[in-house]
């Protein structure tokens, strides 16, 4: 490239009524290109940066060997910070050094390379097509008599993956018994117990305005499937002033003196509905903010859920413990295609308080 001066000879820009490409701008020399002192300085800077990396590596190894990490969170945090900073220097030194080298010392005259059309030449295309034709001819595929061959090959190849996929996919779903989703551990007489320690709750312990996170008694003793059962069975037990509680029709005996129990699993996508607002009697799911009104059958008043939280019918036994009257009367948790089909815990399963 010539070192022609930047000029304003604009007349050359439109020959024949067309704009003319002015070509590459002239190369602008850098400090180090013209001043040997600047070049020397840049060289020292690059070396210093590489040196910094070496120090960083030594520092990282030193921290690793002398660190005395204890259980203390503070000591772990300190080791983490020191290792992070020294590793940063070890890496950044190399990186910045190399980039500084490229930017100051390496030749930076832009070069031009022509592109070639990606399309294969017509001649080559013809040859390629001919090769494929020849191959097809050689194999006998083009002969019309060979339809049996073609048909059987395609069928065999299409079917063969099933031999691997069906057992593979078939095994992955466990027992495929999706009706398990309709049942929980709750049964007639199961005591409501505190989550997580599993101690049963007496009606007298539940003061007005209080809320208990509840699991079925005996959940903690399960050998297998404890989390699966817990993921369906968790319940919120809330006592309200009976005057505030609008008991839903058909559920007159499901509560006890203002104490109600609702599934804690959101009817939206299944997060635990864990936040209870005592003043408004609202339950809020922290994941997507579906809001349920406990005073009105846990009906949805805001957010993405459609169905009320399923209610667990409760009673109090002779010793004063709160017990379940039965399982939930409908599947708990998120909706699914056939949730209203099949055998549900109770014939009244389809009664939904949509209102």
């Amino acid at each position: 490239m010539s070192t022609e001066e930047k000029q304003h000879t604009n007349s050359q820009q439109h020959a024949d009524g067309q704009w003319v490409d002015p070509g590459l701008p002239p190369h602008r020399p850098r400090r180090a290109d013209v001043d040997p002192k600047a070049a020397k300085r840049a060289e020292r800077q690059v070396a210093a940066l590489f040196g910094l990396s070496i120090l960083g590596t030594i520092a990282t190894l030193t921290v690793y060997f002398v660190q005395d990490q204890t259980e203390e969170v503070a000591s772990i945090r300190l080791v983490n910070i020191l290792l992070g900073i020294s590793l940063c220097f070890a890496m950044l030194g190399i990186g910045l050094g190399a980039i500084h080298w490229a930017r100051t010392l390496m030749r930076d005259h832009e070069m031009v390379e022509e592109r070639h059309a990606l399309r294969t030449s017509d001649e080559n295309r013809e040859i390629a097509v001919q090769y494929l034709k020849d191959g097809a001819e050689d194999s006998g595929l083009t002969t019309s008599r060979r339809t049996l061959l073609k048909g059987s090959l395609i069928t065999a190849v299409a079917l063969a993956p099933l031999a691997i996929l069906v057992p593979q996919i078939g095994n992955m779903g466990g027992d495929w018994n999706v009706s398990k989703l309709r049942h929980t551990m709750w049964a007639k007489g199961t005591k409501l117990a505190r989550d997580p320690d599993g101690t049963p709750i007496k009606a007298a312990d539940v003061t007005i305005g209080s809320v208990f996170h509840v699991i079925p008694e005996g959940l903690n003793d399960l050998e297998h499937g404890k989390l699966e059962e817990k993921a369906k069975a968790v319940v919120l037990l809330i006592r309200m002033d009976p005057r505030d509680l609008n008991i839903q029709p058909g559920r007159e005996d499901w509560s006890f003196d203002g104490i109600v129990a609702y599934s804690k699993i959101c009817t939206h996508v299944g997060c635990p509905v864990a936040l209870y607002e005592q003043q408004t009697h609202h339950l809020l799911c922290p994941c997507h903010q579906s809001t349920f009104d406990v005073a009105n059958g846990a009906k949805v008043i805001f957010g993405p859920a459609k169905r009320p939280l399923p209610q667990l019918p409760i009673a109090v036994d002779d010793e004063g413990y709160i017990i379940a009257q039965s399982d939930f009367h409908e599947p708990v948790g998120p909706s699914y295609w056939d949730r209203l089909k099949g055998t549900s815990p109770s014939p009244s399963a389809s009664q939904e308080a949509d209102a």
């Binding site: 220097f89 699966e228 699914y336 056939d338 209203l340």
Partner: protein, 540 residues
């Protein structure tokens, strides 16, 4: 000494080349030219953060136990003493607290995952706004798109591995979303979790996906992605001497070997620094997964936030009508399907197909290797900004509880506003962006015709004051006049001479409509004639 080394190197090169013909590769690669621009580094950041992920990930596999067997924690972290947890969670605590440096590597892994996804999205935005997806790069756009989806898969499977309560609730949401799929949803959920949620199969399965399947696919796709970059040669920004038929830049060896190679170490170093200084995903504060507890402010990692926002936004009831239907006894949950399945489906399909959509409007105009300045394709730029605003609204809604807390706003109000915003904002941002692009194009015309304002006011002899304008240099003019001035497509008539309706007319008509939407309203570059006239004026 130097001569000896040279002789040894030559000998080795000869030995290898005799057996591999590597000379051809060296010839092809070493002086390959790459144009220089900061925005070309975005893809590099993605590549390097992936390398950091692989390096730190290998470290982590040495300590992580992908098992959901329940154990009682007896390790050094006192807060968790006696807590029942899965082996996955326990081994995460061990890696963090008992393996010196383990905490740093875990944090680096998580931070670089966030960086990886962010760099991919930004890189994709750069490619979109500059039109780098045009012929011949449509396939590479699709590969990049697939890499983006894979990065989300890699991120989500990794995020869920520690089996803490936060990621466990994320999986619970995935379970709920899966179950909403009509007919097969319940079975897909069983297939995924090996039975009922949460089961004992998921962590080992996700571990395999996270360390083998997904990174394997990513690695293979990166290979093809870069191969195509070399094959196509890199795109370049417009400027003097830069044509669709050439590439102007500096050679791979030594300049980009140093710059790009060095940049890997810079990314590595910065990830190490951030991981050293800033805590990420402190699962030891959240506790192990338990289906019962959850806390407020439960956000997934940033790249999943938009789906969470969509789930929050969609109401279960609209004006007294439920969005979950029961048809002949079967449950159809639009309130989950629309935000979590259909909406991302449409969004991603549109993104994947975008190069073709624009090509329908443009028609095949050959290979395009010179990038567009975003202002010169106002409709595309408008669509891009509309997509971003759509995405941002979802992200805002996904963090509505945090925003409500920070700014003392009502959670419900934010949701109501975003429910309207999701429809209104993309349209408004499209219109405003397109308008800004037109404005910038007019400004370019103005500059070419009248030159730079110099701020110097001169009084003529006859008393007239004028501001002196300095004409633009050749290079400056060329940058502003050399873009493609695309006009809407012309199509053949509906009926031929004999009055027979032409086959394929409907499709052509659609393309023409699309083309008009894109190119009907446009600002043309200054023509040489206009320029000559303006120059003529300036001299008088």
């Amino acid at each position: 000494m130097g001569a000896k080394v040279n002789a040894a190197a030559a000998g080795t090169a000869n030995w290898v080349d005799d057996r591999t013909s590597i000379g051809g590769f060296v010839k092809f690669f070493s002086r390959k030219l790459f144009p220089d621009h900061w925005s070309f580094m975005l893809g590099e950041i993605a590549l390097y953060s992936f390398l950091v992920l692989v390096l730190t990930g290998i470290f982590l596999t040495a300590f992580f136990v992908p098992s959901m067997d329940q154990v009682t924690y007896e390790g050094t972290f006192e807060t968790m003493h006696g807590v029942v947890m899965s082996k996955a969670f326990e081994s995460t605590l061990v890696t963090s607290f008992q393996v010196p440096g383990g905490m740093l590597i875990r944090q680096m892994h998580h931070w670089s995952a966030l960086l990886f996804t962010a760099a991919i999205v930004t890189h994709m935005a750069r490619v979109f706004f500059t039109g780098a997806f045009r012929k011949p790069r449509e396939i590479n756009w699709l590969i990049g798109f697939t890499l983006m989806i894979m990065s989300l898969a890699a991120g989500f499977t990794g995020y869920s591995l520690p089996d803490d309560v936060l990621s466990g609730n994320g999986l619970r949401i995935i379970d709920g979303v899966t179950k909403s799929i009509p007919i097969v949803g319940t079975y897909i959920s069983y297939w995924l979790f090996g039975g009922e949620f949460p089961g004992e199969a998921l962590i080992p399965r996700m571990f395999t996906a996270h360390i083998l399947l997904v990174p394997g696919i990513i690695l293979a796709l990166i290979g093809v992605h870069l191969f195509l970059v070399f094959l196509h040669k890199h795109t370049q920004y417009p400027g003097g001497g830069r044509k669709n038929t050439n590439v102007v830049g500096l050679p791979l060896f030594p300049v980009y070997t140093a710059k790009a190679g060095g940049f890997f170490f810079v990314v590595f170093g910065i990830v190490a620094l951030v991981a050293g200084l800033f805590t990420i995903n402190p699962v030891w504060n959240y506790g192990p997964y338990d289906p019962s507890p959850v806390s407020a402010g439960t956000q997934p990692d940033w790249y999943i936030l938009f789906i969470d926002g969509a789930l929050r936004m969609m109401p279960g009831w609209i004006a007294g009508h439920p969005t979950e239907w029961v048809i002949a006894g079967y449950t159809l949950s639009w309130n989950i399907l629309i935000p979590a399945v259909i909406l991302p489906g449409i969004f991603f399909t549109f993104l994947a197909l975008y190069p073709w959509i624009e090509a329908w409007a443009t028609g095949d105009r050959g290979e395009r290797h010179v990038l567009d300045r975003p202002r010169n394709v106002p409709v595309r730029t408008g669509i891009g900004v509309a997509l971003i605003s759509f995405y941002v609204i979802l992200v805002i809604e996904g963090s509505n509880d945090i925003i409500a807390n920070l700014f003392h706003l009502s959670l419900n109000d934010i949701t109501k506003v975003t429910r309207i915003g999701i429809f209104a904002l993309p349209i408004i941002s499209f219109l405003i962006t397109r308008r800004i692009c037109f404005g910038l194009q007019r400004k370019d015309r103005e500059l070419v015709l009248h030159g730079h304002e110099t701020g110097r006011i001169v009084r003529h002899e006859h008393g007239e004051y004028i501001e002196v304008h300095e004409p633009l240099s050749d290079q400056e003019v060329w940058l502003r006049v050399s873009y493609d001035d695309l006009a809407p497509l012309e199509i053949a008539d509906e009926f031929n001479a004999r009055g027979v309706r032409r086959k394929g007319y409907g499709w052509d008509r659609f393309k023409q409509r699309l083309s008009r939407f894109y190119y009907e309203q446009r600002i043309q570059p200054v023509s040489p004639a206009e320029y000559a006239e303006a120059q003529h004026h300036a001299h008088h």
